[in-house]
Point group: C2
Chain length 336, copies 2
């Protein structure tokens, strides 16, 4: 189940095709919290998110076996669409993205600039149905956003690469959970290197299907579209490939919307990176874990900053209230 070798193989395969993103830290944040926090800046990955790693691993593996398709299709209105568009272009394969008509102009423009064709539908259900039909065509490959072993292995290379970059013992690794591709890949990567490394997930309280699934022991689905700033973690359910891996998480936290906004402001301010709410959310899991552990020694934590694609409406919402007035680790912040 926990196949670390798949991560190493994926990393060897894609390392020259993806950006080696930097690992960064904030002296001030470390000083305020009394622990060392390292951030893997996947917001600086090509197309602005870790998703490019999974898409590239799928195509590079097919290319090795001379099995590249004639065309690629995918359904997404988010980071997966742009990753597929760009990865397909690097392999010179035409790609079609099936999305909703209300997709933001900036995301649509990026997807098309990367060379993909955009097909717009009235509803997500219509788009999902259309992609299924398109995938039946001869020579067509549908690349799913998370529920595929090669996608999971690709996403895990972010953590694997970070652990190679860091010259220190890492105590815990934190990643957000939507469909679970990034978090399950992170588990395979970290535990294979050192199974004492704790791997911890974070999910919006308003989209807590994974937390519910981990409690009940079976895959649970959200009752409807969730209302959350973390659009990257709004997936209705985890997958059959990701769930059995996610069950190995050492801890898992459900995060309130105000905490997601709080950490988006602070990480943008302290790291000077345009991190998306889904990434910043993970910092509250770090805070909860550190508080629960009552550690006497400073801990070293690695946080996977999954991406940096945020539309204007979400940015306006994030920056509405002044969270920078409450310092991280202060009594004011901790009382929330």
């Amino acid at each position: 189940m926990l196949d670390h070798q798949a991560i190493i193989t994926a990393y060897q395969r894609i390392k020259h095709k993806v950006h080696q993103t930097p690992v960064v830290e904030s002296t001030l944040l470390n000083q305020w919290l009394g622990h060392r926090l390292l951030f893997k800046a996947e917001c600086l990955q090509k197309t602005g998110a870790f998703k490019f790693r999974g898409a590239t691993n799928v195509l590079a593996k097919l290319s090795e076996n001379n099995e590249l398709p004639q065309q690629i299709v995918a359904n997404s209105s988010g980071n997966h669409a742009q990753a597929i568009a760009y990865a397909a272009a690097t392999f010179n394969i035409p790609a079609s993205i099936f999305t909703i008509a209300s997709v933001s102009k900036v995301k649509a423009a990026a997807t098309e600039a990367y060379g993909a064709r955009l097909h717009k539908f009235a509803s997500r259900t219509d788009a999902d149905q259309a992609v299924q039909e398109a995938a039946q065509q001869h020579g067509t490959l549908w690349i799913p956003p998370f529920n595929h072993p090669d996608v999971i292995a690709g996403q895990g290379t972010a953590c694997y690469e970070a652990l190679q970059q860091i010259n220190a013992q890492v105590d815990a690794v934190f990643a957000p959970c939507g469909g679970g591709g990034l978090l399950s890949g992170t588990l395979l990567a970290a535990k294979g290197i050192d199974d004492r490394i704790q791997v911890i997930g974070a999910e919006p309280l308003n989209a807590n299907d994974a937390a519910c699934s981990l409690r009940s022991g079976k895959i649970e689905t959200l009752p409807g579209p969730p209302d959350t700033l973390s659009d990257g973690a709004a997936t209705p359910a985890v997958g059959s490939h990701t769930f059995p891996i996610l069950q190995h998480c050492d801890d898992f936290y459900e995060i309130a919307e105000s905490q997601i906004a709080y950490w988006t402001q602070w990480l943008q301010h302290l790291l000077k990176l345009h991190v998306e709410p889904t990434s910043a959310m993970t910092m509250q899991a770090v805070m909860n874990w550190l508080r629960k552990g009552r550690f006497s020694n400073p801990q070293t934590c690695l946080v996977i900053l999954s991406g940096g694609n945020i539309d204007q409406a979400k940015m306006a919402q994030v920056w509405q209230e002044d969270y920078l007035a409450r310092l991280p680790g202060s009594a004011e912040q901790q009382s929330r």
Copy 2:
């Protein structure tokens, strides 16, 4: 007047004391505009702005001559305060910052975390008077924010370093203008390397004292505190050291507030960096210069992204309207 050697000397002096910040670019932006834009990311400099270069150069030069003071004072509520606080700490010298009582909590906390003492006053006039008195004390050095040859030389190292990092002929360099420290340093750096490089400044239309001064041929002062998103360029007047250098600018543009907000959104989105409005403003100067030149060949432009410190109120203002719906270089954007 145009003393390039001062920049080289400053760079040799401080290069191991400051971050070598990356030069980044956006494939999408280059594609949309048909030119190559390179960005020097000084928002990733220590304390989040280029100001750390000038402060470090002043102190490192004094240290070389065994002339370090017993204490340092400065008046600022912005990036200069944090730069002085951090630079003083690295030389183990106590620093006092004189500022207004309404300074934001996050800036005050950072200045204090860097080890400086913060003295708060009811008005800027009171703070400026107090720093003058404090500077009279024995062994005390007042470091001004821009009007000092060693400060100017330090700021110029950002452009100098960038031109070393870039393996291409640069046609034009762009920098924002507040008191003129960064822009005059940039002039000395670029023209000394190749005097065919155009050096172009940008200033908020709402705080256009430098543009007025360049037109009239003498230093003009703003009638009162300006209303602009670009707080880093709200300085009431340029200085006696910076002005004669600024007069060598090849071009200079006054930028409207809506254009400042437009480019802050777009640069944060495309570069995934938390750039401040003062930095992003410079992009509109690039657009105006490119349009005016009607170039038949793609131009290579270097933009100095001065910093990344933005308070919550400014971020909320920047992200109020959806500028991401108007693509850079599109008819919609150009009509504004």
